[in-house]
Symmetry: C2
Subunit: 339 residues, 2 copies
C-alpha cells in the first residue's frame, strides 16, 4: 500500500514537473562507498534576490569547511558521531546559522538553544533543550548521551549537569549578534508572535548525518529556535524521532523547518521507519515524509538523510536549504537553492 | 521482512510458553465496535506479595471509575479526546498513581509533572514538561494543543501560558503525599540516583486511548516522572512519538515504563508506523515494539493501544501493569498482573 502510494506520488510529481529528486539533492550509489556525509544549515524562503554574492560565498565557504571537517574524520576511519560533532561545532561557532553563536532571540531577549545526537549502532541518544549559557549545545548533547543514564535534559538542570562535566559557561552576551537582535525588534514591532526564523530571515537549524567506514550511522541537530518565541516552547531539534534519528537498520536523518510539524509527523523517525517497515528506498522514504506526510499537514522544511548503503537524500519543500554532501571518492556538492 | 520477523517472534514466544497475548491483554473484534477505550496506571514490578487485598481493591476501584468516566462520554457520542481527558483527570487526582496528586519527588524535593495529548484525526498535539504548579497537567497539554501554535512547552514558560489561559496555580504542597516523600528519603539514603518509580514502588505513569463513535482516535499520557530525578530530565511522556501517539490511519498508543528506552525506540509512533507501513495487526505491532524493539534494548514497560477497528492491545514486559479496557457492548476488563 505504502509502496504504491509512494510510487504514485513520485509519478504524479514527475508528471507535474516537480520531481522531488530535483527539488532537493539525491546521491544514489551502485556500490556502497566507504563513507558518506551530509550537512545542512537550515531551510526556508531562501531566494537569490535576497542573498548578495558576497553573503552567498560566505555560506558556501562555511558549509565546505564544516563538510570537510567531518569528511576528514570519516576518511581517517573515525566514527560517524565524531564527524557529525565536528561539522556541527563549526556551524554553531559561525554567526551565519541559527545555532550556537548565531542563535535568534526569544521574546524575552534571551537565547535558548536546543541540540540532539543519536548513534545508529546502539540507538543511544542525548538531547538538551532551553540551555542559555552553553557555547556548543551539540557537545552537551553528546555528554548527556555518553555520561548520563538520561536521553534528554532541559534548562537549568541541563546546565548544572554541564558544569559537573567540566563545561565552561559563556556569558549570555556571547550570543549577541546585531542581526539577530534587529530581527527580534522587527518581530516585536510587527507583533507577529513567534516568527519562524527562516521565514523572516531565511536561516535555520543546523545538522549533520554520517555513515562511517565501520558501517555505523549517526545524526546530530542544533538550533537557536524561533525569533520572538514565548512560553518555553520546545521545537523538534531536541526531540529524538522528530528533528533527529539514526538507526543502523535503515538511515540517519536531521531535519530543519517548522518544528511543530516535524514533531506531529515524527519526521526523522518516519523516514527510517518507512525504510524498515515498507522496504522503500531512502529517496522514496525521505520524499514521501517531507512532501506528503509533513507537507500535507502544512509543514515546511527539509531533511538530510544518509542510509546504510551510503545513499544520500536532501529533499525540502521550501525555496531553499543550505546543504552539502560528499561520499568517499566523490567531489563535495554544495547547494542552497532548488537546483 | 518485518512481517516474517513478527511471525517468527510470535511463534517462538508461543513455543516458549510466553505468549505475548497472554502476558498482556488483547481484545480483538470481528466487527468494529461503536467505541473502544483503554487506560493504564503504570507498569512495573507489581507482584501480589507486595499488594494488600485492600490496596488492590482501591486500585481496581479507581481504574473502574476512570474507565467508566471515559466510556460514558464515548457511549453518549462524545469525542475520544474528551474521554481520554476525563479518565486521566481522575487518575491524576488520585494519590494512587504517579501523576498529578500522586507525583513522585525529584532530587530537590519538588514535583515536576509532564503530560501530552494527541488527536488522531488532525495529528494535532500538545505537551507540557516540568510544570510544578498545575493540578491537572493533561488539561494544560490540551490547552497547548487547542489554544497555541506550539506542540510542546516546558517549565515556567508553560506555567505563564497556563495563567494566561485561566489555570489556577496550586501550591507545591498540593503534591505532598507522605508515601512519595518517604520514597525520596529512601532513594536519597540508598544513593541510587534516579530511581525508577515503578521499580522502587510499583507505580507509574497514567494514560488513556480511545476510539470514538465518529471513528476518531485519541491518546493521552501524564506522569510525575522518576523519584530522585536530577538535571531537568525529560522522560517519554511529553514526547510525541515516544510515550504518546495517535493517528486515524492506524492506532492510538500510550506508554509507561523506563522513559529513555521509549524515546530511543520511538515506541508509541512505531506501533502505529508498523501498522501503516508493514500492514501488520495492532496486536503484532504492539507486541513487536514492546518485546523486541524496546525489549532488546533492555527497556521495560508496556503500552495500551487501540486501533481504528476497535481492537485493543495492552502488552507489557514487566511483572504487572495497572490497566482496564472496554468496548461498546462488552464488559469492562480490569487487570493488574499477568493473567
Amino acid at each position: 500500500m505504502l509502496r504504491s502510494l509512494t510510487f504514485a506520488f513520485v509519478l504524479c510529481a514527475g508528471l507535474l514537473g516537480v520531481s522531488p529528486t530535483l527539488s532537493g539533492t539525491a546521491m544514489a550509489n551502485d556500490t556502497r562507498p566507504d563513507y558518506a556525509f551530509a550537512i545542512h544549515g537550515g531551510a526556508g524562503t531562501i531566494e537569490r534576490a535576497y542573498l548578495t554574492e558576497k553573503l552567498e560565498a560566505e555560506y558556501r565557504e562555511k558549509l565546505l569547511e564544516a563538510l570537510t571537517a567531518g569528511q576528514t574524520i570519516l576518511a581517517d576511519g573515525g566514527s560517524g558521531i565524531d564527524a557529525v560533532i565536528a561539522a556541527i561545532v563549526i556551524l554553531e561557532d559561525s554567526p551565519l546559522f541559527n545555532a550556537g553563536k548565531g542563535a535568534v532571540f526569544t521574546n524575552a531577549g534571551k537565547n535558548e538553544l536546543d541540540a540532539s545526537i543519536m548513534d545508529g549502532r546502539t540507538l543511544n541518544s542525548g538531547a538538551v533543550a532551553g540551555v542559555t549559557r552553553i557555547k556548543n549545545p551539540i557537545l552537551l548533547a553528546r555528554t548527556v548521551m555518553d555520561q548520563s543514564e538520561h536521553v534528554m535534559m532541559q534548562g537549568k538542570g541541563a546546565e548544572k549537569f554541564a558544569r559537573r562535566h567540566g563545561f565552561r559557561m559563556v556569558s549570555s552576551r556571547y550570543f549577541y549578534t546585531e542581526r539577530r537582535w534587529l530581527q527580534l525588534q522587527y518581530a516585536l514591532e510587527q507583533k507577529t508572535g513567534a516568527l519562524q526564523d527562516h521565514d523572516a530571515e531565511k536561516f535555520g537549524t543546523v545538522g549533520a548525518v554520517a555513515l562511517d567506514k565501520a558501517g555505523n550511522l549517526a545524526a546530530g541537530t542544533s538550533t537557536g529556535g524561533r525569533t520572538n518565541k514565548l512560553y518555553g516552547r520546545v521545537g523538534d531539534s531536541p526531540i529524538i524521532g522528530a528533528g533527529n534519528y539514526a538507526s543502523n537498520a535503515s538511515c540517519a536523518v536531521s531535519g530543519t523547518g517548522h518544528g511543530e510539524y516535524f514533531i506531529r509527523a515524527t519526521v526523522a523517525r518516519d523516514v527510517c521507519a518507512m525504510m524498515e517497515y515498507a522496504g522503500v528506498s531512502l529517496e522514496d522514504a525521505a520524499n514521501t515524509v517531507v512532501f506528503k506526510r509533513m507537507g500535507d499537514l502544512g509543514g515546511t522544511g527539509g531533511v538530510i538523510a544518509v542510509d546504510k548503503d551510503g545513499n544520500i537524500a536532501m529533499p525540502f519543500n521550501t525555496a531553499g536549504m543550505y546543504r552539502a554532501a560528499v561520499t568517499a571518492g566523490g567531489d563535495p556538492v554544495i547547494a542552497i537553492f532548488q537546483e
